[in-house]
Symmetry: C2
Subunit: 193 residues, 2 copies
Amino acid sequence: MARPSKKELRSEEILDACERSIVQFGVAGATLQRVADESGLARPLLHHYVGNREDLIAAVVVRFTERAMAEDAAFKQHLPDKHRTRAAIQLLFDPRYASSSHDIQLFQALMVAAEEQAELKVVLAGWYQAFVDDMEAMLSADFPRVTASARRAVATGIVALYFNADSMASLVSPQPLFKDSKQAALQLLETMQ
Amino acid sequence: MARPSKKELRSEEILDACERSIVQFGVAGATLQRVADESGLARPLLHHYVGNREDLIAAVVVRFTERAMAEDAAFKQHLPDKHRTRAAIQLLFDPRYASSSHDIQLFQALMVAAEEQAELKVVLAGWYQAFVDDMEAMLSADFPRVTASARRAVATGIVALYFNADSMASLVSPQPLFKDSKQAALQLLETMQ
DNA sequence: GCATAAATTGACAAACTTGACAATTAATAG
DNA sequence: CTATTAATTGTCAAGTTTGTCAATTTATGC
């Protein structure tokens, strides 16, 4: 028939470049020119494949949430049946497994932009809440007799430590930061006994 | 002699407006026009009083760090001699005392911008480190016999919880968030015994 | 090879942003 | 009142960003 479509491939490349631009310059600083340069494509192609700037940002947000959910599901799959929270902490604060650092940085940048975008706030709040809920569910399974209040507190704490470690890792030396954060998370976990 | 200068007053107004713009739109989104509108002044006045855009952002950063240090000193003054960490937690996670929420949001926005500004990274890292060091000093005073490693972990945890609570407060309902964060901080503190 | 459909490029206009400066207005001292 | 100094306003040019579209190139099936 005709030339095969690269829409899927190109769209992914563009969204990748857009994410990197957002992480580096913030949402407002991620201009179409920068995204084009970052992706190695001509600027009109962004329009051709994804749409205008608003569409582009929206697409990044959609893909981010979908990816986050998928990674979250995969993460939970890898956990054992017993002592799941402890295993989760081992993974979350392993610098080698810090592949999610990009996601956290993207999240932070989107947080800033959410200040003027109510819908975005809802989306990001949902992701954060899901994170805390998952952690709380693990704690429920591991410590069924502990009060809901203590569970929520510990879940909130572990998530806060994880977010903080990943976002500060670009500011201070990551090794001690991850080590201290991990120890704090484990100490917090101890209080569930 | 002549007409009295409003340089001090106007400069403060402009920096206030610039901070609000940064919190709302990010550093890249804080255009001179927005800052001018936000401050109620004509755009050329920004130039007249503070300088060009680069000067403006730099001035915001300088004032932020100075204010943060001053508030930090004042904060420490208000603490008792004994059980300082516990008292600090009571203050940090008191929603009424959440006046610093603006500072945390500003910090987050600057963090994003720091990704492409090495000097800014140093400044922000300094502030964060000072925060953790202060917390660690309190813990040292309150629990002189605990290992340095445990102290650092707890200090890191409390600061992470504080940052997280203040930055997520605009996403999810702040009351439970602050309550859970506070409880987590206190549980973490318990592990120092 | 040829028709077809998609990718890619080049170019343009409108809107926005920044930097700069001259002209005007306003407040104070003497 | 007047000289002086600063605040304030209006305006303009240069550069950037976005949206749009026509023209061209490229890859595939037949």
